[in-house]
């Protein structure tokens, strides 16, 4: 069974890693969405 400290460290690390992977996924989605589409107007 994991200890308190294990869960604390793994938990915070896990959330940041998960969000980092999702961040990269969002960047990839943005890139893929520009393929074959009209250029987005950036403001």
């Amino acid at each position: 069974m994991a200890t308190t400290l294990d869960i604390f460290v793994n938990g915070i690390t896990g959330v940041f890693i998960g969000m980092a992977v999702l961040y990269l996924a969002m960047k990839l989605i943005a890139l893929v969405s520009t393929i074959g589409a009209a250029p987005d107007k950036t403001e």
């Binding site: 400290l5 604390f8 938990g11 959330v15 969000m19 999702l22 969002m26 893929v32 969405s33």
Partner: protein
Amino acid sequence: MWLISATLMYLAIHRKYEPLLLLPIGFGILIANLPLTTLMEPGAGLIWRFYHYGIEWEIIPPVIFLGLGALTDFGPLLSQPRLIFLGAAAQAGVYITFFVASSVGFTLEEAATIGIIGGADGPTTIFLAAKLAPHLLGACAVAAYSYMALVPIIQPPIMRLLTTESERKIKMKKGRKVGAREKLLFPVVATVVIILLVPASAPLISMFMLGNLFRESKVVERLTETAQSSLMNIVTIFLGISIGATMSAENFLRQEVIFIFSLGLVGFMIGTATGVILAKIMNLFTSDKINPLVGGAGVSAVPMAARVVQKMGMEADKRNHLLMFAMGPNIAGVIGTVIAAGIFLSLLK
């Protein structure tokens, strides 16, 4: 318990504090604490059946997330992806509270359930409590929804303390326009990514993203409309009354409930603070500054926390509209809390 029931119903009706939940919860407490009823009799009671088949079978929280997904627009997050880390930072409140709760004598499962209150996400709190510490479900749910209602009171002093006047006036550069294709791809990609990383979060994330896919596909308007309104309203009724009915006197009138409320509040406050602090740290590494107030919206209280940021931004500068920027971390916070809950489940179950 009758007094607590009356207090919650008063807060719901007269003060309009989260009435959709606190009113049925308050009434559920009343009927569960009347003598000689069989409403919560295992196997036979009416309200027991709502609780058993809705909550113990983990149906209601994911269905609420279906509705939330159908209501959510990921545009603000997709236009400024870096804001997702502010949602991550707010989850530090969850884990710090978990650590403290464990240190004061709660079991790991109980500490995790108390910690998740700091994420300010009602359905996730209920989902986790039902799995890890069902005897704390009522107290944790009431704490989570009460603090969500008190966001406009709890957050501003913390955000003011951690920011300077000039920081609160920072005007953020408008994010890029987000196309329909991106908004369509996001729920599918996010589902795959998050479930592969944290399989235990699957029930909540899959329903959240399905609801969002309904919305963004624009081909199932009837399903979207049902998920957003009727279905959510129906399950909210069953959820509220079931939670209230778990709060019998012997379950609720215990010393540890005071700890639960106190620790949950601390978790929420820490989550607000860590979001603001991370925004300030991020500003050290970028010329495109983030208004640190936006970090306070990293908790999952959508859209209340974002509205608080908008109000505080306008107090500092009347022309500074931060609402759409704040929605990014606000929505990220929902995902972050689900990931946090999934990690707890992976490590404790």
